[in-house]
Each structure stands twice: as C-alpha cells, then as structure tokens.
C-alpha cells in the first residue's frame, strides 16, 4: 500500500486514553470477556454483549474510529445487518444518515445489461440496503456502547503479547502510560486481517492473493447523480475495466476503479491521476472534489478453526474475501451476532460450554460461502484466460438481447443473511416453508401492549429466545402457561393468529411475519427463534415435551 492518502470533509471523534486500573495500582482481576479491536466487528460484539448485560473489555490500538484516515471502506449494509442494528438500538441513526437504495444496474459500455430492484420481496421493516461510510456505523456503535455504559472501552491499548491456557488467556498490552497484562476467560479477536493474536498462536490462514488491483475514490460532486448502484463490467472511461458507482452519506460518492493487474499502485492512487480518471468518467462540466483516494489489492484467506481454546476469531481475523457483494463487513457483523448470545448464555451458566463450538460450526460455512461467491465474481470481472474472456463476452452480448443471460453477468452478489441449516442447534422444521437455521426477517408486528413495533422488539432484553404459538393449538392453556412460566427460563412465548392459550398476544397486522415464515395458515405451529433471530425449530401441532426438547437443543444441550 503506502500510497498517499487524503482526508477531507469529515470530523472524526477522538476518544481519550485513560490509564486502565492495572496501571493505577489496582489489583488485577480476571475479566470474563475481552474483545481485541474496536472496528465494525469488535464494536458490534461489544454492543451485542452489552445489550445482554455482559461486561466486556475492549482493547483498541487507536483512539478514533475508521482506519487509514476517513476512508469509506465497507459502505453497503445489507438487511440482516440493519436488523441487527435495530435490535441493538441504533438503526434510526443509520437510516437518517445513510442512503437507502434498492435499484442496481450493470452496464457494459454505456448500455444497461442487467437491472434489479431488491425492494419488492422484503417482509422486513428494514430496506434491503443502506449505504453508509463504515466509520459512521462504528461511531454510532461506540455511542450506543457508551450509552449502555457497562463496557470498558480502552483506547490506545495495543496488544503486543498473547498466550492461552486451559481456562484463560493472558494478554500483554502497551499503552501511553506503560505496559500491563490482563487475564480473560474468553477472548474475541476482532483485530482484522493482520491479527497479532492469530499469528502469535501460529495459525495458518491459507492466504490466496488475487490478481485484482483497484483504486478507490471517495468523491463529492456538485450536481446530483441517481441514487442507484451502477456497476460497469467494461467501462469505456476506464480502459474497458470495471467501475463501481455508489452514493454514501454527506453526498459523497464511492467510485471503485479496477486497475491493470500490473499497474503501479502508488501512481494510480496519486490525487492528480485519480482526478483525471474521475474526469474521464463524468465529463468536462461536472465539478467534483476528491475526499479520499487509496489502492486495494484483493485477497482471500480462511482460518481452519474459528474457536481455538479460549479464543474466538471474528470478522477479518477469521476470514477475508474480495469486497464484491459487501460480504466483509456484513459477515463480520453476523459473526458477532452469532457469538454474542451464546457467550452470554454460557457465562450465565444457562448453556453448556459446547454451545460455543457452534459459532465455528455455523459461521465457518458462511465464510466459505462468501469466499466462493466473491471468487466467482472476481473470475467474471478478471478473466484469467482467453477462454474465460470469450465466455464473458458471450454472456454480455447475449444479455443485451435475452433476459436469461443477464443473470450470468456477475458484478457481485449482494450479501444476504446466511442460513445455519445443518447446524447442530437446529430442531425439526414442520409447518413452515422457512427452514430451521434461516434468518427470520424483522417483520412489522403489533406488540403485546398494542403498540406498533417489529419482531426485533421481542428480542431486545437479555438473551431472549422467542417462541410464537401460531394458529389454533389444541393444547390445554394451563399446560402451556405452566411451561412458559416455569420450565423454560430465557424463553419468551407469545401467541398470534388463532392461538388462544392465555399468553401475551402479538398481531401480524400486515401479514408480513406469516409471509417470511412461510406459514400457510393451516396447521398450528410453534415457532422457536434464537436470540439472533434465526429460526431454531418449527413444530407443527407439537406437544409441550417436543417444544422442551427443541428448546434444549437450540441452547446446545
């Protein structure tokens, strides 16, 4: 890298370094959870744990959000991420600041060959995508974490040593006030692609460096452009290489230019060279200002084990992929979403420690899927042989005429929630079209108190599993109430649509919950959802014993 980086137009917060208790002469204590890295992944984990009442320590080597100056970095936040941010209580800020969009267009030359509108099929309160510079999301997470006020955020605390033992890990830390060490029961390594912890433990990431070289330019235009995602496979203004064009917050556009694999990255990222490139795209008359310019080389890597002893690897420290389809940031957030509730349950003594292994069982396949998907895009955008170029030309030429070929034009398959089908936590799936393991969309519902809300409102407190009795169950209400009150701590049960068991009622006022669950209205069903809003089990016309069994399984018993 090492190219000139430019920052203008943003004022980022600076968080003060405060000497930690260990350097103020206070006795050392062992912490239940330490999170290394206050990026998107670490902050989501911290916020999630904070919302579940777990007091975590967060270590970050910097004193602000963002890296490499105010680079936009991850900019497309997909629906599952937005739903998680709703559950964590910061979605409204994301919506207000960000740019909601649903139309994507793919161009070859100056002609649109593929177009989609993702808004139609959604049952969620959240839109398919919101674009926002990554540092804003990190900023809102820090604010929310400080609002909940049970997390120990330690800025300018750099991890310089790491060792783990049977029941804890020791972390050596350097700060402006000196060095210290601390012990943790569990460590979440969210420190990114160059993880010190991972390298100290000698874990191989099987890195594969791609040939793709890109130059990213954050640009402010004086005149508005359409709020759509435009991707060129072959842009005439970029030597027939790919170009991305996306609007972010503050009227700043993100332009990604694919470069010659042999290019000099420092040269192509020079401000005057970048400005000339943007000028070729927008023509002579549009005024613009470069906010940030920097090069990227894409690669992929994947750890074999996402849990090693007392250490969990989340986000880029566990898996790295090309940015096509916005899978890096969104998958890091889903990593945190997956591990948070499990760790909280184990720390509270409500689940066996083996539940933590399912983080690996569920999230590594997600990473594998993301790497496969981004490699496919990469191969379409950077044909590696004459034959690959031939088929791409064929696909593009056919796409101009025939709808079927438009699906082959691959400029990135946008991130969707990964389904944990096949996870050891999944129970039976009867009575619903949605399979256990899949994410349940954040449908709008009427809450038990009669107010309008969303499904996420049922999950906000602690580590709630939510069970919904749907349809006319024949069970004795007394038995159901007894189960709800006594046998199933941590399970919040409600009823809707034809169920009359004397529980709190929700109403699927717009029919969107039934739609995303795929309930056809015939058989009564008990719908069991996990604290991360994935479906644990669907039981058609169940007995209480069957529900008890599925609930135990979903918690790793």
């Amino acid at each position: 890298m090492g190219a000139p980086l430019q920052t203008s137009g943003y004022q980022l917060p600076v968080y003060p370094f405060e000497p930690p208790p260990e350097l103020r002469g206070e006795p050392a204590t062992r912490y239940p959870v330490v999170i290394i890295g206050a990026g998107l992944c670490g902050l989501t984990a911290a916020c999630d744990l904070a919302s579940r009442g777990v007091r975590a320590v967060v270590l970050d080597d910097d004193d602000t959000i963002g890296v490499r100056g105010a680079s936009s970095r991850g900019i497309v936040y997909a629906q599952k991420t937005l739903e998680i941010m709703d559950r964590l209580g910061l979605y409204e800020r994301v919506r207000e600041k960000g740019v909601t969009w649903s139309v994507g267009k793919t161009l070859a030359g100056m002609e649109v060959v593929y177009e989609f509108d993702a808004s139609a099929q959604s049952a969620s309160r959240q839109p398919p995508f919101i674009n926002l510079q990554q540092f804003y999301l990190e900023w809102y997470l820090v604010d929310r974490i400080m609002e909940i006020a049970n997390t120990d955020l330690r800025w300018k605390n750099q991890v310089v040593g790491y060792e783990q033992f049977a029941d804890h890990a020791r972390i050596d830390i350097e700060t402006p006030a000196g060095k210290y060490s601390l012990e943790a029961d569990w460590v979440l390594d969210c420190s990114g692609v160059n993880s010190h912890v991972r390298d100290t433990l000698g874990l191989d990431v099987r890195a594969m460096r791609g040939i793709d070289r890109w130059c990213i330019s954050d640009v402010r235009f004086k005149a508005p452009l359409p709020i759509e995602r435009w991707t060129w496979v072959e842009a005439p203004f970029n030597e027939n290489r790919a170009v991305w064009q996306h609007l972010m917050a503050d009227d700043v556009w993100r332009l990604d230019f694919q470069m010659d694999p042999e290019c000099d990255l420092e040269y192509v990222s020079r401000l005057d060279v970048a400005a000339e490139r943007v000028r070729r795209q927008v023509g002579p008359d549009v005024e613009f200002e470069l906010v940030w310019v920097g090069p990227y080389s894409y690669r992929s890597q994947l750890l074999d084990e996402f849990r090693v002893g007392r250490t969990f690897f989340l986000g880029d420290s566990a898996h790295v992929m090309s940015p096509f389809g916005a899978r890096g940031g969104n998958s890091a957030i889903q990593d945190a979403d997956n591990l948070g509730w499990k760790l909280a349950l184990v720390l509270a003594g409500q689940a066996p420690e083996s539940l933590l292994d399912t983080y690996h069982h569920e999230r590594r396949p997600a990473a594998q899927f993301n790497i496969m998907t981004t490699r496919r895009t990469s191969r379409f955008l950077s044909p590696e042989s004459a034959q690959e170029k031939l088929f791409r030309d064929a696909a593009i030429s056919l796409a101009r005429e025939y709808p079927f070929a438009r699906n082959l034009v691959n400029t990135g398959r946008l991130s969707t929630a990964f389904s944990y089908a096949g996870s050891p936590l999944c129970g039976a799936g009867t009575g619903l079209a949605l399979a256990p393991g899949a994410a349940v969309q954040n449908a709008p519902i009427t809450l038990p108190d009669g107010s309008k809300g969303t499904l996420a409102d049922l999950f906000r407190d602690g580590c709630a599993f939510v069970g919904v009795w749907v349809g006319a169950h024949a069970l004795a209400p007394a038995e159901v109430i007894r189960f709800a009150n006594q046998s199933a701590p941590g399970l919040r049960t409600v009823e809707m649509d034809g169920a009359h068991l004397g529980l709190s009622r929700i109403a699927d006022s717009e029919g969107r919950l039934a739609k995303c669950l795929g309930w056809d209205g015939s058989a009564p069903v008990f719908v069991l959802m996990r604290p991360d809003m994935h479906l644990a089990a669907a039981l058609a016309d169940p007995t209480v014993a069957q529900i008890r069994q599925a609930y135990a399984k979903a918690r790793g018993h």
Binding site: L390, F391, D393, A394, A395, S397, L398, Y402, F404, A405, L408
Partner: protein, 68 residues
C-alpha cells in the same frame, strides 16, 4: 443427462451447426460457440444435468501432467 437420441432431426441440426460457422473467422467461430453453449445451457437449466454434461465433455481430455 440424456444420452439416448433426443433430437427431432439430428442431421438437420448437425448441418445447421456447421453452416453457422461458414464465413466466420476463428475468433468469430469461438464467439459463436460460446454464445451457443450458453443459449443451450439455459434450455437444459437443471444444474445437476449441466454438471454431468460438463464432466462428460471433459472426460476424454486428459488433465495436463503434473509439473507442466
């Protein structure tokens, strides 16, 4: 994968396939073949069948020897 005859007129198909290449350069012929493969693949649609067809087409073409 269908391996028994399925053409309604095999000789006509073969003749048309050859005729379509008349007057094309090598590069155009290659482009024609690629377009045709994609068009036909969409007629088949089913990924399992397509995978079997790809494997069958590849089968007699030996993988390059190790180290070359």
């Amino acid at each position: 994968m269908q391996t028994k005859p399925n053409f309604t007129d095999h000789d006509a198909f073969y003749e048309q396939l050859l005729a379509a290449h008349d007057g094309l350069t090598e590069a155009q012929s290659a482009q024609f073949n690629a377009r045709l493969i994609l068009l036909l693949a969409n007629q088949v649609g089913e990924q399992q069948v397509l995978a079997q067809c790809i494997a069958a087409a590849r089968k007699p073409l030996a993988a390059p020897a190790q180290g070359t």
